[in-house]
Symmetry: C2
Subunit: 308 residues, 2 copies
């Protein structure tokens, strides 16, 4: 009866055209959990951290209904660290430093209390670990969503294809969908990916929105044009968190409800980029979210009378 | 009581990953007229052609309600010729040959019968010529739309700014909006452009759709994800033709109706790219257009109940 989230919890150092932070909380599971917590609780977190991960951040997440039974703490170890610099267009970035630290030995063991999970969000990780988590669940969740990236296509394609074959929804960006299938046309790439296993495909296009494919149907969710994109780090994970949070809350995994879930994901992502790290996600109200959703409705709404 | 279209009528040689044509009808005014003719007639065409422009093409346009009184025919001259090659992603292209021919001496004189125009579409041309046409009209049209491109920003920025200051709607792509204003954020660019004169700004983003800005309001029109983009030539002009055609038909220039007009423009553009040149635009039925519009409704439609 809950959402299970697997991913990294980390420190990031970020440089954008708007500023610089040396050490801010990051990691895919951190963003997913913060975002999803506005829709559903509890959230069963699976990750690994070092003794350096701040207690204040853990407590803040616990207050949002995030359980830490599945988060391994390596007291003498250091948390995963990533440092990146964004270019002026905010769509491209250079990785400056990647220190795996405790993540190098990540081998998640699901606590018994996590076996009740109905929704499983596999954040971007080694495909073998993503499969390992699926295999530990005695009862298949109602919905499994897998996020991945081009790095695994280049280094672990066989494993990645196996993992993709085990899930219901694949989450990638447009260039990754093309790389995975060898098809430039996104509708064609979507057909190929559905043949690999997932019945649903979400293609994230950053400032250009997101596409949801299912059978021959397609849904286009816009991104809100923003005055300022302060820091895009975590936007994709925040999107996934809002998407999964809405589905877990409503327990409805129809194509129609996934459309709404994608708009919630897009709304959450539009908050995420307004400040460095997950900061903006830690201070939202219900009303903030409802107002942002209204902006999305206004953004795409048009009147038309079509002759039947 | 009519739509006035100013632009080029030309020959194109095109090379795409799907094939090659040595000589096909092209030009901005050709695409605009074909597209708009499904919505409104007559269309007052202003252009210049050589004696080599095929009578069959002229007759086909005349059958669609396009009047040629404003099209200068230079019997001994050759029509404007452009040759281009598209890259695999279809979003970028190289110009291989540009022969201005009769276009070099284009100095349009509006026939008296054109003075009744209510809607003026200024296709991409030398800004001085665009201004010249506006100045020849004794009564200001209900709506003036100007299309332009980065080339004029680099070679005739002063004139271009003057021309932009005289129109109601500016039509550019995202990189041109950024180049024109020095703002990376599109909402900020939109504010600056509105300060330059136009109350409306349409930003074309190709496969990523289009944005309409007015005051602080924004509307996002998606592009239909297509299995094949055969030839993108003329898609922007076809979009403009559908947009203007719907407005001229309904005579309603409100922000709300412009949203619908943009969806019509997007639908027409989605046909244009299916075959080389304007070929696909010459064979559409009312039903084709209605069905395509339904695809756009389905593409963006989602259900949501918002509190408050």
């Amino acid at each position: 009866m809950s959402l299970l989230v697997v991913g990294t919890m980390a420190f990031d150092a970020l440089e954008t055209p708007f500023g610089k932070v040396d050490r801010v909380i990051g990691g895919s599971a951190t963003y997913v959990a913060w975002s999803a917590s506005y829709f559903t609780q509890p959230i069963r977190q699976v990750s690994i951290i070092g003794g350096d991960f701040p207690t204040t951040e853990i407590d803040a997440l616990k207050k949002r209904g995030v359980t830490f039974e599945g988060v391994e703490v390596v007291k003498e170890g250091k948390s995963f660290f990533w440092s990146g610099r964004y270019h002026m267009d905010m769509n491209t970035r250079d990785s400056l430093i990647t220190e795996l630290n405790v993540l190098a030995d990540f081998n998640p063991q699901l606590p018994e209390s996590y076996q009740d999970c109905e929704f499983l969000m596999l954040g971007n990780l080694v495909p073998a670990i993503q499969m390992n988590v699926i295999n530990q669940l005695r009862k298949r969740p109602k919905l499994i969503v897998l996020d991945t990236m081009n790095f695994w296509m280049e280094t672990a394609m066989d494993d990645l294809k196996k993992a993709i074959g085990m899930v219901d929804v694949l989450l990638v960006n447009d260039s990754e969908a093309r790389q995975l299938t060898g098809e430039y046309s996104l509708p064609k790439a979507a057909m190929k990916i559905q043949e690999m296993g997932p019945k649903f495909l979400i293609i994230k296009k950053g400032e250009h929105g997101a596409l949801l494919f299912h059978d021959r149907s397609v849904f286009y969710a816009p991104a809100l044009p923003l005055d300022e994109v302060f820091d895009p780090t975590g936007a994709g994970d925040t999107f996934a968190g809002g998407f999964m949070g809405h589905l877990a809350k409503t327990k409805d995994i129809s194509f129609e409800n996934m459309k709404t879930a994608i708009i919630y994901g897009s709304a959450m992502a539009s908050f995420c980029v307004e400040k460095f790290g997950p900061q903006r996600l830690q201070e939202l109200s219900e009303q903030d979210i409802q107002e942002r959703m209204q902006s999305f409705v206004d953004l795409v709404n048009f009147d038309i009378d079509l002759v039947g």
